[in-house]
Amino acid sequence: MEAVTKERMRELDRVKQRLQLGGGGDRLEKQHTSGKLSARERLALLLDRKTFREAGLFAKHNGRLFGMDGKDLPADGVVTGRGHVDGRLVHVASQDFTVAGGSAGEVHANKIADTMKASLKTGSPFIFINDSGGARVQEGVGSLAGYARIFYQNVMLSGVVPQISLICGPCAGGAAYSPALTDFIIQTHDAQMFITGPAVIKQVTGEIVAPEELGGPRAQMNKSGVVHFVAENDVEAVKICQRLLSFLPNNNLEEPAHLDAGGAPRDDDELNDIVPADPKSGYDVKKIVARVVDRGDFLEVQAEFAKNLVVGFGRIRGRSVGVVANQPSVLAGALDIDASDKGARFVRFCNAFNIPLITFVDIPGFLPGLDQEYGGIIRHGAKLLFAYSAATVPKITVILRKAYGGGYIAMCSKELGADCTLAWPSAEIAVMGAEAAVEVLFRRELVPAQDNGSKRRELVQQFSDTFATPYVAAGLRLVDDIIEPAETRAQVAEALQALAAKRDWRPQKKHGLIPL
């Protein structure tokens, strides 16, 4: 090699090394002591070894005012490029808090938006690791326009490739709307997300609130339902992301990866004993889910939000499924506003990405109450009806116990397009509970003057003997078959196989009008 060439190579090496250090030693040290990994370390954990190909390491910011001219901000504070997760192509953007606090200038934002365009062109998932102080104020409205470009691309990608956001540091103000437009948000214990911070809240309303109370994972998972997964730290956040990706296809034209089907399902007698004989007793529906999906491997989504409805991913004989299940041990398993929103969003995600839906039903109805009505349970509950009816993926419904009233319909009933409805012998499928029904039907006959309660008891018994079984519904063909609980895994697996090539069309339209 000629001396000049050699020097050029050495120079390239030096420049790259300097830029890859980001904000440099001290700031990196500070990142670590505050319990966080650096932007590049997070990518190193997420991606298969030696697969990361960076684009835009040499990017320079275009700020000229307020002391920005000539300021060196390596990669403009965000590491972007492509790589592989378990051998599959993904595109990534990881904000570097050590460079100007990860603040988003115009070039920073354009790098992210360009990475998203590459995601769209190649049909590969987009993963955005957030750790940023917010807009780069020195760049003024240019920074704002940058955010808007990201949001626009979020919407272009929506429903085409899976989008996952990791919140590993601050994510405040407008910046929080990019994660909000993605499919899943994973937040770490120390991270915060909010639109207006504690300082502004204090100024405007006088309320004093700590940042973690306002936008920590407890607030954004349990209360707002904005976040889908909470991670203890950056390492766990990355692991959740990898596990989530394993259930998803790369884009809307592919199916999720198939794993080995394993042996033919056997009858599982344990399933016969989970639903208690006493209809007033609750139980944990996740025990049933765990025995139906492969190896009990169930990735629950929004585990701490609207716990009366359980949603998440599993596999049946190696194929991804989305599970939606009423949780009878919380709020009697009734559907309320939050549960309806949570369920509808999950059903739409599964439909967009070709993931069949398995619905387990044990629902006494929609939750009654003034706050529910004032909060718009009619509008929100309708979302679930809409999402299930619009879904064209295979839909399998298993009625475990109660299936009453509007709740029965909303939980993917036959009429909403379930391809296969199965009921356990414990199923009670009726328009309303026996006591309420008797009250409506025999209000006049049952005035206390004419009845001492025995007539009422007799009628209640008569109604529940007639309707608190799956046989009337099966007689009307609202249920395809009544099965022993032990057979559930085998029956669902067979139905999924039969429906693997399901085709279902909907009329051409710009888009449906889900009641938002």
Partner: protein, 140 residues
């Protein structure tokens, strides 16, 4: 294509051995992987679980559970009838441990605190009708 059986996959680490189902990779995934837009570089190690970076102890240390001010007060999630109180003031209770059973919508609903703690006071007794949002018990 370098994807083979036996490579450590994130999903292979999940699930219980005593339940049904297999998680090993078979040909369909390999076929699907071949159709990648771009093959990974020859020296790549797909699904390699051990990263080549050192994770600082400060990142891995276990954080104390987050507490919100309102965690100390437990309110009824639903209107109904208290049918059992399972713990008394002064007892240690856990976030998944039922402290009270409320019958509502013809179901027995367990009520647990949002966080671990010691019961300071119980404000209702069996037989009481409660409204949604009514204070049931407080933690220290």
């Amino acid at each position: 294509m370098a994807i083979e059986d036996g490579v450590a996959k994130p999903w292979a680490r999940h699930g219980r051995e005593d339940l049904q189902g297999s998680h090993s990779l078979t040909s369909p995934l390999a076929r699907w992987a071949r159709e990648l837009v771009e093959p990974p570089p020859p020296d790549a190690t797909p699904g390699e679980s051990e990263p080549d970076i050192a994770i600082p102890e400060s990142v891995l240390h276990v954080r104390p559970p987050l507490r919100l001010a309102e965690d100390a007060v437990c309110r009824s999630p639903i209107a109904g009838l208290v049918i059992a109180v399972l713990a008394a003031a002064g007892e240690q209770v856990g976030r998944r441990q039922p402290v009270m059973v409320i019958e509502a919508m013809k179901m027995q609903n367990n009520v647990s605190p949002e966080v671990d703690g010691v019961l300071k006071a119980v404000h209702v007794a069996p037989g009481d009708a409660v409204k949604a949002g009514q204070v049931l018990f407080e933690l220290v």
